[in-house]
Symmetry: C2
DNA sequence: CCCTGCCATTGCGTAAAACGCGATATTTGC
DNA sequence: GCAAATATCGCGTTTTACGCAATGGCAGGG
């Protein structure tokens, strides 16, 4: 950039002495600076002898270029610096539909007010996939149940405790357990179950059945808890879902919670992110906005 | 420019080792190059740790800029270099109308074919002013009579010898000298003369009259020889002009050459230019195209 | 769970380049 | 012809850039 400034100053004054003074360098430095420019360009910019300095035709062309180039550079500089202060960029967040409806929505609304320059990309899907997507770098962050043991590369922050519940259709059915408060093998072995394909809710359900000594009759395996509510609402069987999914479901009236004993365990739902990605100011800003538990 | 190339290479490969190899520098040099860019811009361009490299949002902005800037620079370089080969620019030439009609026209036509990139600005006017305009730097070159002594700063190249002639109107007039071949004081002291305001032709005419022992009766002093032909053609008096002006005049039929004895001296007409301006390839090209005498 | 390979960065000694001072050559104005 | 002006060059010094080797930290595998 500096040779360009030197050139422009000289092109204005057409006098090495005065131009060098204006640039705060010695005349010899300015002379060399111009000569170097000319060598790099392969063209004479000034027609000069010991007494006269004049722009060549090519010098005029270069003058227009130099002015524009310097302005563009300065403009970019300012633009990037203001961006750096404003903290702009893009963060992708993966979560379930339910999470996007409930507490995450409130969180992100607030975040957007504090950092209007940061764009949020919200991807919804099965929470069981959440952690894998973050580990693979496909998403910056995810809402996910806390796993039994957290991978080392991952940072996790609890947001809420989510009770798991059994849900059944409102209408009667032959396979409906009559006394869910005290379950028996006979009552549950023929019940058509609608469970997650994978994830913690599935593991907990499996554990529950194993404790009862029953191999459940799996009617359907579903990716995503929301669809479980739909299928149960249609009367296909009994499902296991986090209570929060039920609370946010438009089909809430079509299903009821079964007061099964023993109750399924709660699990932690929280935000997770790659530890190393916390060095990014963007990610950090969102991470710090979230209050644990 | 080089830091920009480094940046673009790294932005493509996102790997310091491979990028530095592609740039033929050591990884440490590339690292410093990028860091220096970031310091100058006041913005982080890459989000990186010991294991991962990724463009920031600002890095993407800068990438677009860098690509454009490099392309503009290269384009300019090529453009200036081809200009340098083609020898483009502008030359201003000052001369009389007559010169522009006659040999100068032929000369410049040829020159234009050899150097189509050079634009010629032709200024016409009184030859008496020619030398002053060149010395003042108002014109690059001029066609002018060779003065008695050439200023040191000036280069001069003879083009042709120009005889000076007396011209008279075709129609009769009371004051017309009856025997121009042997002039007498009586014949000439009452002749209305139409002469140049200044310049060599005027000096020669004055000298001629002085030798005859006559103070001429000046009817009109004119700037530019062409107008002298016009006035003589209208019958106002007798003029002194270079023969070449007469040869190119549309009023040639209205006047006639007086066979006066002794004849007026010839003078050299040639091209003049500031010596120091001959260092310019443009000026030099035109200068070299002209064959002396 | 440690261990090895990978990789961006940093310290340091050296090489290159930039810088300023004084000298030089050349030109202009008096 | 002489003196002031001025772009450029040579040279010694300072600043900067470069590569090598070492460091530290992060992933993947036995």
């Amino acid at each position: 950039m500096r040779p360009l400034k030197h050139f422009l100053t000289l092109a204005d004054s057409l006098h090495f002495g005065r131009a060098s003074e204006a640039c705060h360098v010695s005349p010899s430095t300015l002379s060399r600076s111009i000569r170097q420019l000319e060598e790099n360009l392969g063209a004479k910019l000034f027609e000069r002898d010991n007494r006269h300095v004049a722009l060549t035709r090519q010098g005029e062309t270069f003058q227009a270029y130099a002015r524009e180039a310097l302005e563009q550079w300065e403009q970019l500089r300012l633009s990037l610096q203001s961006e750096a202060l404003h903290l702009t960029g893009e963060i992708s967040v993966y979560c379930s539909v339910t999470a996007s409806y409930s507490f995450l929505y409130a969180l992100l609304s607030e975040f957007r007010i504090h950092h209007p320059g940061i764009e949020l990309k919200l991807h919804t899907g099965d929470p069981a996939e959440a952690m894998a997507r973050v580990l693979a770098g496909e998403e910056d962050m995810a809402i996910t149940p806390r796993p039994r043991r957290t991978p080392e590369a991952l940072a996790f922050k609890s947001l809420t405790r989510a009770p798991l519940v059994f849900i059944a259709p409102q209408q009667a059915a032959a396979w409906m357990p009559s006394t869910p408060e005290s379950p028996s093998t006979e009552q549950w072995c023929e019940v058509p179950m609608i469970l997650s394909e994978a994830g913690l809710s599935r593991e907990f359900a499996d554990t529950w059945f194993k404790a009862l000594g029953v191999t459940p009759r799996i009617y359907a395996q579903v990716a995503g808890h929301e669809a479980i509510v739909s299928m149960v609402g249609l009367g296909f069987g009994i499902g296991v879902v986090p209570k929060i999914v039920l609370d946010n479901s438009p089909l809430q009236e079509r299903v009821r919670v079964l007061p099964v004993k023993p109750e399924l365990p709660h699990y932690d739902v929280g935000l997770c992110v790659l530890e190393r990605r916390l060095k990014s100011p963007l990610i950090r800003a969102l991470w710090d906005e979230v209050i644990e538990r």
